[in-house]
């Protein structure tokens, strides 16, 4: 299963090579051409096919549609060797400090294992137990006997990922690390299997987690007429005392973003997605700005003189932690929704 391979692959922002190689293998026989840009984005072009290729919203023909999913995951960066051989690290992307304790990580190209150890409960004062430990004061123990010993194994600037194995989970769910946004990558690979009556740019972006930097330059280079971002969406559907928004729910269908911190989705594209879902009897839910967080679309829609954009996501529990969870049915439904919605772009978008 491609999703499994992608989830297990290691690709912290700025070091997405391993994920990119898997994706190149997966798409190379299905697209017209592909390239890797200077930041590391994988940009695949599938030329328009069909009786009457649709024309562009502006003057250019044929229509260019960009689909983006990000390859990178949150992780750690080694920044210093302590005198006792422990490693200090910085967080790449946003990670809750509290999830770091007592986890196993793999460091660098050689996948050196290490543990984020903490003082045993026996040695803690009551007051200490109630305190959150800052990531700055945590270290990774690789079992090195000295600073020099550690320097021989791990360099400053090496990336570390959580050591989590992908697997089936519960009823129709899967768990693994980095499902945000390897699930989007897997969806995009599926969509690239089909032909569409417009030029489709499938973009696997880098550095989303540090500010949507890959998507920004890719959108500038491609200058698409319309863009969709495929994501693993924040989900907060655990039971709560208060009757408030769960952001998204696992099992409630593809999440169509109305707005998030980085973007207010193009109304026409939202309507297109909703109409398609209703027609095809695909369940769907809205992703609304009840929490902070943005996506690649935040940079894409303001690239150049503006690009109408929308986001479709698979609800994903526990994102930005070592282990996340999603529903395979929802994954299939996002593919189905996109495959049915995209051909409708051939008619062009109505005026705003």
């Amino acid at each position: 299963m491609l999703l499994e391979k992608l989830s297990n692959a290691r690709g912290v922002s700025g070091n997405e090579n391993e994920v990119r190689e898997i994706l190149i293998d997966a798409i190379k026989d299905r697209v017209t051409e592909y390239r890797v840009d200077t930041l590391g984005n994988l940009i695949a072009l599938k030329k328009a096919k069909g009786a009457r290729p649709s024309t562009a919203l502006r003057t250019r023909a044929p229509l260019r549609v960009m689909l983006a999913a990000h390859m990178d995951e949150v992780g750690l960066l080694i920044v210093h060797h302590d005198s006792n051989g422990h490693l200090r690290f910085a967080k790449v992307g946003s990670i809750d400090d509290r999830v770091l304790l007592s986890k196993v990580v793999l460091i660098g190209n050689d996948k050196i294992p290490g543990v984020i150890g903490v003082k045993p409960i026996h040695l803690l004062k009551q007051r200490e137990r109630e305190q959150v430990i800052d990531a700055d004061s945590l270290t990774i123990d690789i079992g090195a006997s000295s600073k020099e010993n550690a320097q021989g194994a791990v360099k400053v600037g090496d990336y570390a990922t959580f050591a989590t194995e992908f697997s089936k989970f519960g009823d129709g769910l899967v768990k693994g690390k980095a499902l945000d946004d390897r699930v989007g990558c897997a969806v995009l690979v599926e969509i690239l299997k089909r032909d569409f009556p417009f030029d489709l740019y499938g973009v696997f972006t880098v550095q989303e987690e540090v500010g949507a930097r890959g998507a920004r330059v890719a959108a500038h280079a491609i200058a698409p007429d319309v863009a969709f971002v495929l994501e693993g969406a924040t989900c907060d559907d655990s039971p709560k005392k208060k009757d408030v928004s769960p952001v998204t729910r696992v099992g409630a269908g593809p999440a169509i973003t109305v707005a998030d911190s980085s973007m207010i989705a193009d109304r026409r594209l939202v309507q297109l997605l909703v109409a398609t879902a209703q027609e095809q009897r695909i369940p769907f839910q809205f992703r609304v700005p009840s929490v902070r967080g943005g996506t690649d679309a935040g940079r894409i829609h303001i690239a150049r003189d503006g690009i109408p954009s929308a986001v479709v996501s698979v609800a994903t529990r526990y994102i930005h932690s070592p282990v996340s969870v999603l529903s395979l049915r929802e994954f299939e439904n996002v593919i189905a929704l996109m495959n049915k919605a995209l051909p409708k772009l051939a008619k062009g978008l109505p005026d705003l």
Binding site: G14, N17, T32, T38, L39, V79
Partner: protein, 378 residues
Amino acid sequence: MSAKDFLQKLSEATGISGYEHSVRELMVEAFRPYTDEISVTPAGNVIAIKRGTRDPKSKTPAPKVLIEGHMDEIGLMVTDIERGLLRFTQVGGFDVRVLLAQEVIVHGKQPLRGIIGSRPPHVLTDAEREKVIPMPDLFVDVGVPEDKVRDLVSIGDPITLARQMISLKGNLVAGKAFDDRCALVSVVEALKHLATLKHSWDVYAVANVQEEVGLYGAMTSTFKINPDVAIALDVSHADQPNSTEVNAVPLGDGMGLAMGPNIHPLVHKKLIEVANANEIPFKVTAYAGATGTNAWAMQVVQAGIPTGLIDIPLRYMHTSVETLNLNDLERIGRLMALFCAALDEKFFKELRGDQIESEKENPKKGREGGRRRKKAKR
């Protein structure tokens, strides 16, 4: 002019973000002897080009390498005139505690000496002494009557710290605005050195405006130049008292060569190669995201720019006694010149991702930072 004299001139020049004109004049003069063309962008950035030596048969234009530092310094700005005293806000980020009892220059119709006043300890209660005085409670006293102040000073006039550069022991100096004018010293040192070397790429030496308020100058000058490689030179925290040793480069030990998402791996590799080949000391520093320098802005200009970052070790950043070692500036200049001279056609192709001949036979999987373009089979 020696590097030290030039640094002193730059340091003592005044120019907060958006008001860099006097520094700009110094930079145009400094670039002139070593470059072929100089222009100033609408935003006020200085762009000086030193053309590379190209094979006359070559039909493609020379690749472009950009090296930059920023001209602006952090400072203050008048927000109100209250009974002849000036209230102010800051442009860029000061620790408000360092402002107390500083001498300043108010750039009104004519430059006015001023003092950021503070009350004598004798009149303060113990409780008062333990509180940091917030910026809205501070004022600048220019020592002239209110009507004269109103005549000479307008809302929005810039204020800079008054400080002359001093020499400390060894090769250390202290002064204001070394962030980031010391980088401009290194850029000029690089151009001087480059005059003795052969280089095939066009070298763009850039002095940017408005770094301290949002990296605005670099964003726009890099858009205009659209270089093939861009290197930012900016100050970073050196070893200093009561401070973390993470990413700290000791003064006099060269520089930091930064790593992380902001940095193109091949540019980083090339910098290390050149430094090693010329026995220039350095330390690898690592940044997990934003580097807080112009490199962060330059990387995502247009379709993306391969970016590198040199950390210049500096103590007491954003104060009026920033301290550095002159040897470091000279070394960084030398590294920049040697780096520019080492850029060749092969490196250009590697960066562009064109397949290299030798690798076509035996393409290596997962080549670090390798960038490729391929026509796929359908």
